[in-house]
């Protein structure tokens, strides 16, 4: 079946873009490009690009290893060197990959980091993860960008000033030191202008799920759609081209009244529209997706596609205020929103995209996402009287994906939605 997977044109473009990035990474030593390891939530890639450096995202490498069925072995190796069963499996997969020669998902060696940029948004594990990386790569410089949590449901001027100060006093000087280049605000503005265009396109793309049938799956396909902006291309012209192409494709689908493309072709009948909270399982991604499209379920919005930046509530970068924009971008990532804001955001998605149900995929090893999920679920159920469902799996640890358990619960969930749609008392 692997040979028959249907792919959109934009997916092919994306594949080439990512392959190009990994090629550049593999030749970084020869080209003299410096390497920055950083995280997806709050990835200030525009700043990295403005210094002419190349970004590496350990989370992406981990999920790619999961999809390529390599994570099980990597996790086992990380556990052998002392990481406990309960540690985030992205971390263990990443560590396992590094101690096995740091061969990346595309089969090419990923260069060692020159800078560990810890842009810290809402996940405590990030800090420990980079402490581990520092031990593995003692020669790497470390820059910490602390992102204040939106405890009071808003970004205050003091919070922005606090972050700008860190950028000026900690991050930029480290980048200058590592890259040997001076900070160039015009270059940063250029990348931010590109980002701004991409942000608009992304919002338009994910807003097409307002259509019935929805032309896209905003979770299973959505994770591919957010690939370029979260994986090295934020602020690049290639990203604009990719997202414009993707948007055109989707508009074409809307015009033709078509549903989403699945790995087995077009979804013919949309039966259920869902909003999903939580990351997907990567080790059994295809099987997991199939459980939904076989039932005619399409995801019209998901929180996971907002981890690298949430623009639904109006935030956009302002190229004329470059450092403030970077700061506010970090603070507006989904995992940096407080629980009330998440409820509000997901509730808006449920209403705007006419969802029939809300589903949580709770991740065993991700405290950052799992904390508060039950509260979010119960609040949405109460406020919107929407049927809710709860399943459990993991990011990249194949031991925690129980196909039969998930199938059993999803079947019940879909029948529950069906029942609520059609059953009248006889």
């Amino acid at each position: 079946m692997a040979n028959e997977v249907a792919k959109e044109k934009s997916m092919i473009i994306q594949k080439e873009m990512i392959a190009g990035l990994f090629k550049d990474l593999s030749t970084a030593k020869e080209t003299g490009k410096k390497i920055v390891y950083t995280f997806v939530p709050g990835n200030i890639s525009e700043l990295i690009l403005s210094f002419g450096m190349l970004p590496v995202y350990p989370e992406i490498n981990a999920l790619q290893s999961g999809m390529r069925k390599k994570s099980g072995d990597y996790i086992r190796d990380a556990e052998k060197v002392g990481h406990s069963e309960d540690v985030c499996t992205y971390v263990k997969c990443d560590v396992g990959m590094m101690i096995n020669g740091n061969i990346g998902p595309m089969g090419e060696k990923i260069p060692e980091p020159d800078l560990l940029l810890l842009s810290y948004t809402g996940c405590f594990t990030f800090m420990k993860w980079f402490e581990t990386l520092k031990r593995l790569y003692p020669n790497a410089e470390v820059a910490l960008l602390h992102t204040p949590y939106q405890e009071a449901q808003k970004v205050t001027p003091e919070m922005t000033a606090y972050m700008v100060k860190q950028l000026k006093e900690e991050v930029i000087p480290k980048m200058e030191k590592v890259s040997g280049n001076k900070y160039d605000e015009e270059k940063l503005k250029y990348h931010l202008r590109n980002s701004s265009k991409v942000e608009d396109l992304i919002i338009k793309i994910f807003d097409t799920t307002k259509n019935v049938p929805s032309p896209i799956d905003a979770y299973f396909a959505g994770v591919y759609y957010i690939g370029p902006i979260n994986n090295g291309f934020r602020g690049s012209e290639e990203a604009i081209n990719y997202y414009q192409e993707l948007y055109n494709e989707i508009l074409e689908r809307v015009k033709m009244g078509l549903g989403p493309i699945t790995p087995e072709g077009e979804m013919e009948k949309e039966r259920f529209r869902l909003v999903v909270e939580g990351p997907p399982n990567w080790t059994h991604f295809r099987e997991f997706w199939k459980l939904f499209y076989d039932m005619g379920a399409v995801i019209v919005a998901s929180s996971y596609t907002k981890v690298g930046g949430a623009y639904d509530l109006g935030f956009r970068v302002d190229p004329e205020k470059p450092l403030e924009s970077l700061a506010e971008y970090c603070m507006n990532c989904y995992t940096n929103l407080n629980l009330e804001q998440r409820v509000e955001l997901l509730g808006k998605c449920i209403v705007d995209y006419k969802a029939d149900g809300f589903l949580v995929n709770s991740i065993k090893s991700c405290n950052s996402f799992s904390a508060g999920q039950l509260m979010i679920m119960q609040q949405l159920e109460k406020q919107l009287e929407i049927p809710v469902g709860f399943i459990e799996s993991d990011l990249v640890d194949p031991r925690y994906f129980s196909y039969s358990n998930i199938k059993n619960r999803l079947e019940s969930f879909f029948q529950m939605l069906d029942q609520r749609k059609h059953y009248m008392k006889v």
């Binding site: 049927p387 925690y400 019940s412 029948q415 029942q419």
Partner: protein
């Protein structure tokens, strides 16, 4: 022709069947613990439910006579008990053949004669004892499975032999019981019920010559009336019994649910999730139900329903089955007692021992340790039952808590100690005003929901 609707719940431990009429009234119940395969299990449960439905229809047909003549009720109940005995007897006969076959295939020729004679002696004793229990005692009303009844009496008889024969005799039993239990034995209802009437009449005829002590029976009012009156009751009932025996119980639609549902040879629309069926069944029996807790063989479900009995959310145990029915089965094995004895023993506890383990396997190790340090069996069992309920409470909390009214279903709801702790902890956590519903048909709720869905689907189409 009247239409009936069948619900089949293929659980991990037992398979259940319910037949409802056009008004959702339960008229037949069937249950089996066979683990042969789901097709056989479905058929056994379905046939049981149809036999049971014929008795229900008989009672419904004669409702006026029963109301004015209590001896009619007694007579019909007795017919049902004898009928169950005859069903049991057929299987016991089959077990005897299987025992002989097992002995011949398993043991050396020199040893066989002795084992044959020991088995013959055991069966020679347990056959009449069990007959007595069905005819004069209340074994028929206990809803025990064939295996449970036979093993209880078989174990007692084996204990009378020299210990050196224990392994051999239990090996014969273990190697034979499952295949017999997993066999589909069809009965001719009419033939069996007429045979039951004859046996029953002989029993009543002999009542003049017997004493309460001889058969350990109580000569209550109904029995005393029947004693001199049975022929008249028989004469007026016989035609009705033949009538219901010949009735065509037309199953207009059926719905399958439970873990084995995907294996049922039913059309897709006739397969429903057990979550929906349990909630619908519980809501039908207790219409004010808002929260359902179902503890089954291998899973625990916390379900929230709306005022129509439709599910709004649910939570199930993932990754671990500790706290479910199988956990109790495992614990019963550890204590070498039957599953039915667990609850009553736990209720006797003076103190509850704190059980830390949330894992079935580790709990067994913990039990041994506690027994070693002198803790009482009843106290340990009380702690175990509490631990099970604590897990269920956690699941309930995750699903949104307990809302009024609360209905407890599933096979484990029959366990009095579990019920005690559920009541105690629900009241403690959610207030004394919570109404807690529990029903003798709790194990059938999934099948009932299935049968009710079958009726609605049929009416809608």
């Amino acid at each position: 022709m009247k239409k009936y609707f069948l619900g089949i719940d293929l659980g991990s431990t037992t398979s259940k069947a319910i037949i409802v009429d056009e008004n959702d009234k339960i008229i037949g119940r069937g249950i089996t613990n066979t683990r042969a395969n789901y097709t056989v299990a479905t058929e056994i449960a379905r046939l049981e439910a149809i036999y049971n439905a014929r008795f229900s229809l008989l009672k419904m047909k004669l409702q006026d006579e029963i109301d004015s003549n209590p001896e009619y009720k007694k007579y019909i109940e007795d017919v049902e008990s004898v009928f169950q005995y005859l069903q049991f007897k057929k299987r016991l006969d089959r077990l005897q053949i299987q025992f002989n076959d097992t002995i011949d295939k398993t043991f050396k020729e020199d040893d066989r004669a002795l084992i044959h004679s020991q088995i013959k002696e055991i069966l020679g004793d347990i056959g009449p004892t069990i007959r007595e229990q069905f005819l004069y005692g209340n074994l028929g009303s206990k809803n025990q499975f064939f295996r449970d009844i036979v093993s209880e009496y078989f174990n007692k008889q084996v204990a009378l032999f020299d210990k050196k024969y224990f392994e051999t005799l239990m090996l014969v039993y273990d190697k034979s019981i499952t295949s017999v239990e997993n066999e589909l034995t069809e009965y001719n209802f009419k033939e069996l019920v007429l045979q039951s009437l004859e046996i029953l009449n002989d029993k009543y005829k002999d009542l003049d010559n017997t004493t309460a002590e001889a058969h350990n029976i109580e000569f209550d009012t109904e029995l005393n009336i029947l004693k001199g009156n049975y022929q008249k009751v028989y004469d007026s009932l016989k035609d009705h019994i033949i009538f219901v025996s010949n009735m065509d119980i037309h199953i207009a639609n059926m719905v399958g649910t439970g873990y084995g549902r995907a294996l049922l040879p039913f059309p897709e629309q006739c397969i429903k999730s057990e979550i929906l069926c349990h909630a619908f069944g519980a809501h039908a029996v207790f219409p004010n139900t808002k929260t359902v807790l179902d503890i089954g063989g291998q899973d625990t479900k916390a379900i929230q329903v709306d005022s129509y009995g439709l599910v709004t959310s649910f939570h199930m145990n993932d990754r671990c089955a500790a706290g479910c029915g199988r956990y109790l089965g495992y614990i019963a094995d550890e204590f070498s007692i039957s599953l039915n004895e667990l609850g009553p023993l736990a209720i006797e506890a003076k103190n509850e021992v704190n059980i830390c383990s949330t894992c079935t396997v580790f709990a067994a190790a913990e039990i041994r340790e506690l027994l070693n340090v002198g803790q009482k069996r009843s106290d340990i069992l009380a702690g175990l039952h509490r631990a099970i309920v604590m897990r269920a409470m956690s699941l309930l909390a995750r699903s949104g808590g307990v809302r009024n009214e609360f209905t407890f279903t599933g096979g484990v709801a029959r366990n009095q100690a579990v019920l005690k702790y559920v009541t105690e902890l629900v009241r403690k956590n959610y207030g004394d005003d919570i109404t807690i519903n529990i029903h003798t048909d709790s194990i059938f709720m999934g099948a009932l929901g299935g049968a009710m869905f079958a009726r609605r689907d049929y009416m809608n189409n």
